[in-house]
Amino acid sequence: MSTEKFDAIVVGAGPAGTSAALTMAKGGLSVALIERGESPGAKNVFGGVVYKWPLEEMIPKFWEKAPIERKIIDHRMVILGKDSGFSVSYKDDYLGMETRGGFTALRSRFDPWFAQQAEEAGATLVTSMPVSEVIEEGGRVVGIRAGRGKENELYAQAIVAADGVMSTVLQKAGIRGPPAAEDVAIGLKEVIELPSDTIESRFNLKRGYGARLDYLGSVARGKSGGGFVYTNSNTLSVGIAVLLSHLLELRCKPYEILDEFKSHPVVAPLLEGGRVKEYQAHLIPEGGLQSIPPLASRGVLAVGDAAMLCLYPEGTNMAMASGVMAGKTILESKKTGDFSIQRLMLYERLMKESYIFKEHSRKKNYHNVLTSGDRFNTDYPDAITEIMRNILVVDGVDRGTKHAAARKVIRDKVGYVRVLRDLYRDIWSALPW
């Protein structure tokens, strides 16, 4: 039997891999998209917000046909104190039009739909096939292996590693090692079932529209972590993410943090009466700019989480955008017939000029903020609670005195210089907006 050679092999049919495969298939390339799960999305976990960009570039007016749960119109950011919450919310129907504010999706439905678009464009999707090895020749990766024997080998001009944060392809090709404990968070998520009417009244929403609530501050016992509650049609996606190295310091089970988050007085009423339908855990790249491996190396283009491009809470858009750029790069190579390692470096150049790298550069302190100091997880939340409690209780003490007390809290808890420095710099790395 012929062992034909593909123009490209994409390993992993998540948002990154499918975007690469779709882009190339539309350009007429022969593409094999290889997924270890029984179906795309079968093994995938994520909070649930997908963004309009860059999906729309690949599938114009996708919102008319994609399996969308709810269009997000209400963005709430909540700074949790130990028993309190300080929220900022922006709600706007404009964001609901054409999913401008993003939309919630369930990966078990979204990924198969998305991969089907790539298949319809001509990509060859193979599921239930874990790639286990790379095949190297003359210093570059020329194929992959998914089991023993020639029949489990496949060759291509270029390989796209879209196999997620633990990327077998990049590790086997020696392009990067397993991620370090301070470069990944462990994300836990539950899907909690509630009637859609209950969700709409509880979150003050119209039918079909949704809210995303992102929680910062005291989520993980004073360590770096965040939480979320996203509304789906008749479920909520509820989860937390804690830096793995911090979780190891806390010496507790990740689900204990999730249980604490779920029973926090600010969160619990939202979930009341819900039934847990699914429980999932997955690693999230949190290493930021400095953890990004060589993007185009030895014939392998690294995309999405495999390339550690996730920038919490944006992962799917980074994955898709990088997939598109990798796809475009290989399309260029096909045009000129030049698949040399130098030529494939175009991907790295495209990436460096893109939203992805601009955002990563802007948030280059993100990782520092996560790993150093407790002020964002303890000091600020505590200060906010103390100040707000003092100010909001009317007890005959004048506001002038209370404001003075507030200033003292800030000075004692964090210090003015620190506040100014954070406002100037680190806070913009810590906030999702």
Binding site: E151, E153, L154
Partner: protein, 272 residues
């Protein structure tokens, strides 16, 4: 239709798609199977039949056609059969076929079978969901050919005039000679089925699955009154789960104390 002797056997293989049991859940209230959203896979018993077909093809050449009656997601089971090396796949799919019992299933399969040349029909021993083990024998009756079940070895004569088989029995085995064409229900003792390869899956993706609807089968002479629920002489009035087992007892704490309690309980029940 029976093929002329010569170029190797034409083998027809019937496969069923069944819910992936590893993904099955029970409704905690009604204890009925929750089939919705459960991925479907090739009936595990049919893998042995497929293995038998592939080995015959390796020895004698010929052509292996796989047919399934089922909903559109049965394509996956057919695709897997193609990946493993079947030459052609046919899906009989139509709302009119829905809720067929074994008789209607066998009838529908037989209509298709009569349209192609075959020397042998293979089926699995049973489907892991329905588990009646009836479809194979009924299909043989509709085709008016002899059949054997629990087949663990197949020696096909090179002149396509007959086959010697071994049937697995509780303690031993039978040796039978059958004329061709015949239908064989293959047992798991036939041997370990092979795994599909990456190249196999890729080739399978390129192959078209032939789709036949109720209308197509009618055009081939089928009586549509025999299809699906309406054509089924049997029906299932009720499905009940096995009675729940009484909950067990757990003794924790001091191991010595727990062991003593265990021994007490066992002797109370007359086990020791």
């Amino acid at each position: 239709m029976v093929s002329e002797a010569g170029v190797g056997p034409n083998i027809l293989l019937a496969v069923k798609q069944v819910p992936d049991v590893s993904e099955l859940r029970l409704d905690p209230v009604t204890h009925s199977l929750l089939r919705e959203g459960v991925p479907s896979v090739l009936n595990p018993y049919d893998r042995y039949a497929l293995e038998a077909g592939l080995r015959l093809k390796e020895i004698h050449g010929g052509r292996l056609t796989v047919v399934s009656m089922g909903p559109p997601q049965a394509r996956k089971a057919l695709q897997e059969s193609l990946a493993l090396g079947a030459d052609e796949a046919v899906l009989l799919t139509d709302r009119a076929f829905a809720a067929a019992d074994t008789w209607a299933t066998a009838y529908t399969l037989s209509v298709f079978a009569k349209t192609i040349p075959f020397n042998m029909v293979l089926t699995g021993l049973k489907a892991i969901d329905g588990e009646t083990s009836q479809v194979g024998a009924e299909l043989a009756e509709f085709l008016d050919i002899p059949h054997a079940s629990y087949v663990r070895k197949i020696d096909l004569r090179g002149d396509m005039q007959g086959v010697t088989i071994e049937r697995q029995l509780e303690n031993g085995y039978d040796v039978w000679e059958l004329p061709l064409p015949c239908l064989l229900m293959v047992a798991k003792e036939f041997g370990q089925p092979r795994l599909a390869t990456l190249q196999g899956y890729i080739r399978a993706k390129r192959q078209k699955i032939r789709i036949l609807t109720a209308h197509d089968l009618e055009a081939l002479g089928a009586n549509s009154a025999y299809f699906g629920l309406k054509g089924s002489p049997t029906f299932i009035p009720k499905v009940s789960p096995p009675p729940a087992k009484p909950p067990g007892t757990i003794w924790s704490g001091d191991p010595k104390e727990s062991v003593r309690k265990l021994v007490d309980a066992l002797s109370r029940e007359g086990f020791v």
